[in-house]
């Protein structure tokens, strides 16, 4: 199908370095700014998610740990924790 083919071509076009024109961040001949924009976009996007995700993961693990501690300490009194 034409649409799908076009989409494929465009995904390739997205990554190809030379095919961009109405580009506000490619200036003064130096490619550095464009790359820096790309990198920092990725950095700013990923960093908060990584921090929060890491914290959530740690919290979950800690909760499991506390839970198993509780089970060892008082196995009889907390029937709902199996």
């Amino acid at each position: 199908m034409r649409g799908r083919l076009a989409a494929l071509v465009l995904v390739a076009g997205t990554l190809a370095p030379r095919s961009s024109h109405a580009c506000a961040v490619c200036f003064s001949g130096a490619d550095g700014a464009r790359v820096a924009f790309l990198l920092t976009t990725a950095l700013l996007t990923v960093l908060p998610l990584a921090l929060l995700g890491g914290f959530a993961w740690w919290l979950r693990r800690r909760m499991r740990e506390l839970d198993s501690d509780a089970r060892e300490d008082v196995p009889v009194e907390t029937p709902q924790s199996r």
Binding site: H21, C23, A24, A33, F37, L38, T41, L51, L52
Partner: protein
């Protein structure tokens, strides 16, 4: 409460009943008082923002006329009015009312705690917020007038007084915004910590009412996204006042840098205000449909998913403005993906109504209106998120109408839903339902008549932030002017109907029917204490939670509700 009692809290509670008026209402650490302070400050700022809207809409409908209560609007004043209308409505109305006021009021009450974990930080948060509002108001009266570079404040216009011609206004505006961020940072720390550590006995994480989850997720989003903007704001401040050149292209700086930092915050901010309103609706609907909230966990995970995705879509604001066109594809995809969780939430709300026993009290009307109107805002967003279509729609009135169809349901409908619903709990008296309905219809109908014409005008190519369209032959056609007049007249009608609300509040405060503990027969913990709740909220005995918050019309029970704190 399992948490150790903090000295600050002890001090706060030691002061019972002996405080003077000033201490009680102006320097209180009680979360309910702070919530009221935020609510009233936010509403007062809302009146100012509404007045601004009235002035510039009058100018657009009748260019050059002497606007009653204002006078002739100059181009400079026009820019300042639209800039501050936007900034006020987002930063000084939506955020303080939806997050700070409802968050402060509801979090301790709904989780069965006596107060926030850090009551003094909470008070400090409000004080900083109040100062930020004063600084903003002061910025209108300095030389050159208030800042007029749009709420997005793109440099070089905002960075250089030679361009903006508002040397002090721009700086005061920026300082006010920064202070406001600090206030919400302090508030957010309090919210998250309180929700995690102060839940009463038995309240597991799936027993927390949805509105609290939404406020917490919003707070986390805010705190995780605001850092880069604060960095950008400091740099902008230094460009304005110290003479650095961070955003000046002639001296090695980069004007696009600001957009990069600003929109990283700017888009999550949309969800920061959206989620609390979604949560308020999620809490009101089950009560008046006498129906369990459909798929609690799905909503929760959807909200978290929205939060995660909100960090990946921000550059769609810059399609036309300043990103590598190749990146636009990525952001088109992420932007359209975020329609999935939002659509899902709307589906869930609709599904909640299925099989219900719906009572159309005023709070329910507002909650339903939120869904109906927000859908319009949601679907029109697709046009703007799709990069190819955005080339045409960018910065037209279509965008403006789109985000008013999201922000108006959020900030205004959401607030009215919350206030009418929790009014009995806040003040111990019921609001008048008939007046409430008059106010409701008097707001909703004009609202649509304001913004549907603006959709048409936007599609016809009318750009934003232009103070007089007669300069553009293609925009000066009579039918377009007629639509502008229609929008403006509707606005005036809508504003007039707000008087009904204020009248209703005053009359109900004085003469309203006594509410009792639980007038709506609701399940959550705030309805188990007195109305209004005493200092310390629950007296000597904290409630224990036995079940999730939305057990309405349970088949095992004769009553159609089942409070969270009843053992069986």
């Amino acid at each position: 409460m399992a948490e150790t009692v903090h000295p600050a809290e002890q001090a706060a509670h030691g002061e019972h009943h002996e405080e003077g008026w000033v201490k009680k209402y102006l320097f209180s650490t009680d979360h309910k008082i702070i919530a009221m302070q935020y609510l009233f400050t936010g509403m007062a700022m809302g009146l100012i923002g509404a007045f601004f809207a009235y002035v510039f809409r009058m100018q657009l409908a009748f260019p050059g006329m002497e606007v009653p209560f204002f006078g002739v609007v100059s181009a400079n004043e026009y820019n300042s009015l639209i800039t501050n209308h936007g900034a006020i409505m987002i930063f000084w109305v939506a955020m303080p009312v939806l997050i700070a006021a409802f968050g402060n009021f509801l979090i301790p009450l709904m989780i069965g705690a006596d107060d926030m974990v850090f009551p003094r930080i909470n008070r400090l948060s409000y004080q900083i917020f109040f100062i930020s509002a004063l600084v903003l108001l002061a910025s209108f009266f300095v030389e050159g007038g208030g800042f007029g570079g749009a709420w997005t404040a793109y440099p070089p216009l905002s960075a250089n007084a030679a361009y903006s011609l508002t040397p002090m206004g721009a700086t005061l505006w920026l300082v006010a915004v920064a202070l406001e961020f600090v206030a919400f940072l302090l508030g957010g720390i309090n919210f998250v910590t309180t929700l995690m550590n102060s839940r009463t006995k038995g309240m597991g994480i799936y027993d927390i009412p949805m509105v609290l989850w939404m406020i917490i997720i919003a707070s986390i989003l805010f705190m995780a996204s605001v850092g880069p903007l604060i960095a950008g704001a400091v740099m902008l401040f230094m460009d304005q006042q110290v003479g650095t050149h961070f955003y000046d292209p002639t001296r090695g700086g980069d004007p696009l840098l600001w957009q990069h930092l600003f929109w990283f915050f700017g888009h999550p901010e949309v969800y920061v205000v959206l989620l609390p309103a979604m949560g308020i609706v999620a809490d009101i609907m089950p009560v008046f449909a006498r129906k369990k909230l459909f798929a609690y966990r799905t909503i929760l995970w959807t909200a978290i998913g929205t939060g995660v995705l909100s960090f990946t879509v921000w550059a769609h604001h810059q399609f036309i403005a300043g990103i590598d066109p190749r990146m636009a594809h990525v952001f088109t995809i992420t932007t359209l993906l975020i329609s999935i969780p939002i659509a899902e939430m709307c589906f869930v709300y609709i599904a909640t109504l299925y099989g219900g026993s719906i009572r159309l009290n005023t709070p329910m009307l507002w909650a339903l209106a939120f869904v109906a109107e927000f859908l319009i805002g949601g679907v029109t967003g697709i046009f703007l998120g799709a990069s190819g279509a955005d080339i045409y729609f960018h910065d037209t009135y279509f965008v403006l109408a789109h985000f008013h169809y999201t922000f108006f349901p959020i900030a205004i409908i959401g607030t009215y839903a919350g206030v009418t619903f929790w009014f009995p709990k806040m003040f111990g008296r019921m609001m008048n339902d008939t007046l409430g309905k008059i106010h409701f219809w008097g707001t909703i109908i004009p609202f649509n008549l304001i913004f549907i014409p603006l959709f048409v005008l936007g599609a016809a190519g009318q750009h934003r932030r232009i103070y007089d369209f007669t300069n553009y032959p293609m925009l000066a056609e009579p039918w377009m002017q007629d639509l502008r007049v229609l929008a403006t007249v509707s606005l005036v009608v809508m504003l007039a109907f707000q008087l009904v609300f204020f009248y209703n509040v005053i009359v109900s405060l004085v003469r309203g029917e006594k509410a009792g503990k639980n007038p709506w027969k609701s399940n959550t913990l705030e309805w188990t204490t007195e109305s209004p709740p005493p200092h310390g909220n629950f007296g000597d005995q904290y409630p224990t939670v036995y079940r999730p918050p939305y057990e309405y019309s349970h088949p095992d029970r004769e009553e159609d509700y089942w409070p969270q704190n009843l053992p069986n």
